[in-house]
């Protein structure tokens, strides 16, 4: 460390400018993604009269009136969404763990077929299934019922959850399971005492993704529920009136609907990163 170059060499300059270029690109992309969200949040605080103007108004008197309006009407929708989301996520985990176990740690016969079957259910466009689903729901007297949404969201998220949990289980060192077997742990004990504690960050991230997907789901809710089970995304749609200005109201409703997902994501951030990048088990 005797001769410290005063000016960076040409190669180093090129490296630095290259890095700066990537940095700028990353910022542009990030802002492009974030801008609509920011716009939504800002608009939510505008009075309806200032929301839809050209050029857009950046100076305005913020108001909570639209939020007040949103809160006054969303009670039942919120309840339905919470019940459907939490209910389906719990069911997904309860069924996903044993299913993933049977496809990874102690694979059943023809486990490949099983695994493919799970993912194949995601390949069919849901639009193609809506007709039969409607008829089944009708005959089962489940139309416009929260149970229907719980069942459908469970079915919707289960394949993905099985695949995710399975990949976490595959990361559990084989010797640990063998040690548990030698120590006399049965299947149940093996799962609850050895596997689950290790893959818990993975389970959290799986649950989180299920929560997000169920919370945001619109198509099934729109076609199979009316009032008794209508969810938050449906409330957003109902915020759009046939006539008149509605952008500020819609923005406020959308902001409220986004808050839980953002909040849950933020809280679970750490385990989400850990879960999605497992392998750090050692």
């Amino acid at each position: 460390m005797t001769a410290v170059p005063v000016t960076p060499g040409p190669r180093r300059l090129r490296e630095m400018s290259g890095r700066a270029g990537w940095g700028i690109l990353a910022w542009i992309v990030a802002i492009a993604f974030f801008l609509p969200v920011l716009w939504m949040v800002i608009t939510a605080f505008k009075p309806e009269s200032a929301a839809e103007t050209w050029p857009p108004q950046f100076v305005f008197k913020p108001t909570l009136s639209e939020f007040r309006l949103v809160f006054s009407g969303m009670g039942p929708f919120l309840t339905h969404s919470v019940v459907a989301t939490i209910g389906s996520t719990i069911l997904v985990l309860l069924m996903g763990v044993p299913a993933a176990y049977a496809l990874s740690v102690h694979p059943v016969r023809r486990w490949r077929d099983g695994l493919f079957f799970f993912i194949s259910t995601k390949m069919l466009p849901i639009v193609a299934a809506i007709g039969p689903l409607y008829v089944i729901a009708l005959k089962a007297h489940l139309l416009d019922s929260i149970w229907l949404l719980i069942i459908l969201y469970t079915a919707m998220n289960l394949p993905l959850a099985v695949w995710m949990i399975r990949s976490f289980m595959l990361e559990v060192p084989k010797e640990l399971l063998e040690a548990a077997r030698l120590d006399g742990a049965g299947r149940i004990r093996e799962i609850s005492g050895v596997i689950l504690p290790i893959i818990s960050p993975g389970l959290v991230s799986t649950a989180l993704i299920c929560v997000i997907f169920a919370w945001n789901e619109l198509f099934l809710a729109l076609n199979l529920t009316v009032t008794n089970a209508a969810t938050m995304p449906m409330y957003l749609i109902s915020s759009v009136p046939q006539e008149g200005l509605y952008i500020a109201h819609l923005s406020a409703a959308a902001t409220v609907a986004s808050v839980p997902v953002v909040l849950v994501g933020w809280i679970a951030q750490r385990s989400l990163v850990r879960g999605l990048s497992m392998g750090a088990i050692k």
Partner: protein, 362 residues
């Protein structure tokens, strides 16, 4: 406590592939420290896992204490295993790790804690460590916890699968003697797998040498060293390895290093009986004695490895054969490029069949 018996125990992983363990017959005495040693792929770990019940048998049987356990599940075999990577439960405390098997057996909590503490004391594990998680421990401590988990169970047989391979060299040597001493004190039959022949020689009451899924020889360390049954065992046991040279037979001996090395009559007659024109000569490095020009075989020193007490000489023989290694007094070893000659005592010569590798003795 119990003896262990493998009877024609066979394990085939894939059809058409040679068996990973091929009709293994092995008797392990009550309280014995038996080491299974061999290069990777020799079947030693598979043999151990067959005893543990983690690997099914495709033929033959395994007995623990006169009881056929071939189809008994691992937990009912009354064994404890120490894994190469320790396999400690990462979310459980050290105490819970050690007591897990007892918990599964329904041993009451107080008794469990007593036995865990006793095992910790036996292993010099600080009581303060008992509440820590495995990842807060050093490698050596983890190793001892893994040992502790086995001891706590008071099993009939200890199984150890390369338990020292994750430790650094110094700790390995230290732990090696601790394990051997612990085993002697507890008197529990132990089957220990390693690829390290020094570990095998220093720890085992008897050592079973495996290669290609087959048992080559099972004997005490000294017997393996002095009387290897074939070329594989001869080359595997001993450090540095025995010098093995394929040499043509000549009148009264074998042609090596440009001269005729006299062979004992027993070897000569055995070679004659087998109708051989060449054979494999084996000389251990410590049996090549420097002879100041008066020795039978000579060559040029290519490399000197100073070990302190000894020096290892790599010598290119005068006949152009592959180099041999000789152990010399460390104080004043010959220099690089120097011409040296060695004297070899006839009793120290080994001879093997060049095709089958079997030992040639009269």
């Amino acid at each position: 406590m119990a003896q262990v018996k493998y009877v024609s125990a066979t394990r085939v992983y894939a059809k058409d592939a040679p068996p990973a363990v091929d009709a293994l017959d092995l008797d392990i005495r009550d309280g014995e420290f038996m080491v299974l040693v061999g290069p990777s792929g020799s079947g030693k770990t598979t043999a151990l896992r067959m005893l543990a019940g983690l690997e099914p048998l495709d033929g033959g049987r395994v007995e623990i204490g006169d009881r056929d356990v071939t189809y008994v599940s691992p937990k009912d075999r009354d064994i404890a295993m120490v894994f190469q990577n320790y396999a400690l439960y990462p979310q459980k405390s050290v105490a819970d790790n050690m007591g897990f098997a007892l918990k599964m057996q329904g041993v009451p909590r107080a008794e469990r804690e007593r036995r865990v503490r006793e095992a910790a004391r036996l292993l010099d594990l600080d009581e303060a460590l008992l509440n820590r998680k495995p990842k807060q421990l050093s490698g050596g401590q983890r190793q001892r916890v893994a040992m502790g988990r086995a001891i706590v169970r008071e099993p009939k047989v200890f199984l150890m699968d390369e338990p020292l391979s994750n430790l650094d060299a110094k700790l390995r040597v230290q732990t090696r003697s601790q394990i051997a001493e612990l085993q002697r004190r507890l008197g529990i039959t132990t089957v220990y797998v390693t690829h390290d022949q020094v570990e095998a020689m220093t720890m085992g009451h008897r050592v079973a040498v495996l290669s290609g899924g087959q048992l080559q020889q099972c004997a005490s360390p000294r017997a393996l060293y002095e009387n290897p049954v074939n070329q594989f065992v001869a080359g595997f046991i001993g450090s540095p390895a025995m010098n093995l040279q394929t040499v043509p037979l000549a009148d009264g001996g074998a042609r090596l290093a440009g001269t005729v090395l006299p062979l004992p009559a027993a070897i000569r007659s055995a070679a004659k009986a087998a109708d051989l024109s060449e054979l494999v000569i084996g000389i251990r490095p410590e049996h090549l004695h420097l002879a100041n020009g008066s020795g039978e075989i000579g060559g040029e020193v290519m490399l000197v490895e100073e070990l302190g007490a000894d020096a290892l000489l790599h010598v290119r023989l005068a006949g152009g054969e592959s180099p041999v290694v000789a152990r010399a007094e460390g104080r004043r070893p010959p220099g690089l490029g120097q011409h040296v000659t060695f004297r070899v005592q006839q009793d120290d010569l080994f001879a093997f069949h060049p095709v089958t590798g079997a030992r040639l003795v009269g």
